[in-house]
Symmetry: C2
Subunit: 315 residues, 2 copies
Amino acid sequence: MSQIDVLVSEVGPRDGLQMASAVMPTEFKKRWIAAAVEAGLREIEVCSFVPPKIVPAMADAAEVTAYACSFPGLTVAVLAPNLRGAENAMKAGAHKITVPISASEAHNKANVNRTREESVADIARICELRDSLPKAERPVIEGGLSTVWGCTISGLVPQDDVVRLSAALVEAGVDEVGLADTTGMADPASIKSVFKAVRAEIGEEKLGGAHLHNTRGLGLANALAALEVGITTLDSSLAGLGGCPFAPGASGNIVTEDLVYMLEEMGLKTGIDLKKLIACREVLREGLPEEPLYGFIAEVGPEKGGKSVEKIAAA
Amino acid sequence: MSQIDVLVSEVGPRDGLQMASAVMPTEFKKRWIAAAVEAGLREIEVCSFVPPKIVPAMADAAEVTAYACSFPGLTVAVLAPNLRGAENAMKAGAHKITVPISASEAHNKANVNRTREESVADIARICELRDSLPKAERPVIEGGLSTVWGCTISGLVPQDDVVRLSAALVEAGVDEVGLADTTGMADPASIKSVFKAVRAEIGEEKLGGAHLHNTRGLGLANALAALEVGITTLDSSLAGLGGCPFAPGASGNIVTEDLVYMLEEMGLKTGIDLKKLIACREVLREGLPEEPLYGFIAEVGPEKGGKSVEKIAAA
């Protein structure tokens, strides 16, 4: 597999589908994953290991994870809100497990029904479980710090809280800490400031990616800011599906198609074929016909201008 | 008037209205300008001095310009495609006249019906006309270089052409050279590259602002890139109205509301009150009821999160 400059991590099958008004049939999830791999995606967050009673859209998590694991070279990421979920995710063979914890105490309680301190303790137990596995079978555990740039319940989150929690997560044993703008309240200056502060505390090796939302239209500008402070993993969602159900007003991950277009135009290799990526939207249209699809480049059409088209044509 | 960090230049009354499907009545244009000034805008491109037969929406250019000039401290900018237009603009009292010239030969011919060389010669005559006025009455002449980042007719435009034409415009006597991504084909890397190259050629003093379109969703990321190479004047349009009628596929200036939100969140002062700015959209709703209005922050509502709201509340 050729070298890439930026890892675009597709979170739509998890973050998008858990927010969708309808449940996507398992067959369509598989078609989406297959089409995304065909387009060149190297990491996909395919599902969430949560109780089916709470999130019916994720009832097929184990089946979807196993299917995704059949693609060689694909990093199969999943989300697990607690020890029970992480255990199931490990059994299903997930390569990477993101465990969410909110930088905002109020949001953490609303989202996972416990204090941040309790979440850190739970994550420590998940890391112990990871360490009980044979080395070759251990998944990467990511502490997914959410509402980093603000909480719709309790407002702005102090940067010191984010830094302190990042250190606590590393102490708890996570392999990396990812930072999420769950509510779309970040701006390019605060993106740079927080990532720099967290890196200074936990070091380059433990610093994961940026999970950005486009709620207020700053998604790609914030992605650019993250790139400029050295972040090389960016989450995004096909057609901008997704958001967080417990953060009122939040809507829409950054659009994978638009992000890939921007990166490739900038000369940054993603390994992703933009035309094939745009073609993936067809699976959403068929599998979730009621869901609105977002994104600029899919509407304008990559053939109408820009350098990436020539690159694709020349590839 | 307090100090600002970035000059947001509203181009909607010109770039937006010349593209709109209906003609906005003069009274609404005046209401828009008054509301924009009330919101804190310091520069507005209020109209285009073009033959009314070609662009009926601009038939009231002289009246609108004179009205705008009644607001103390407001820089009244206009567009004039040729000597005749510039003459009328000067008579009307415009403070700044942007004369468009395309970096792409094909687009220049389509837009102003002459070669780039002929455009430069025409701009030299406009500068002579400026110099024939008493010093206190001389408007700023901006060479508005368009299709800098690509042309929908002839494709990518060589950066060398942009640098060469910028130098020719300075030679012709313009006060500044502004660069426009008419077709929305720029990316943050090419924004930085071109602005740096043009500055190296013509110097800081002659370098004007960035006029960016959001055709492919990169508008604000490109604005951020421009800021990062020291550009402090950014054009934008209320509700994202506008585009270029002779560049098929191009649509939408960057949205003033979203741009101001981003800048203020970053701690950069614009002098603009975001809530009052969003209220300006009401004039568009009434004066151009058929026109779609774009923008994220107006939809989400500034009160739902972000720092700028607190700043406004504290102001």
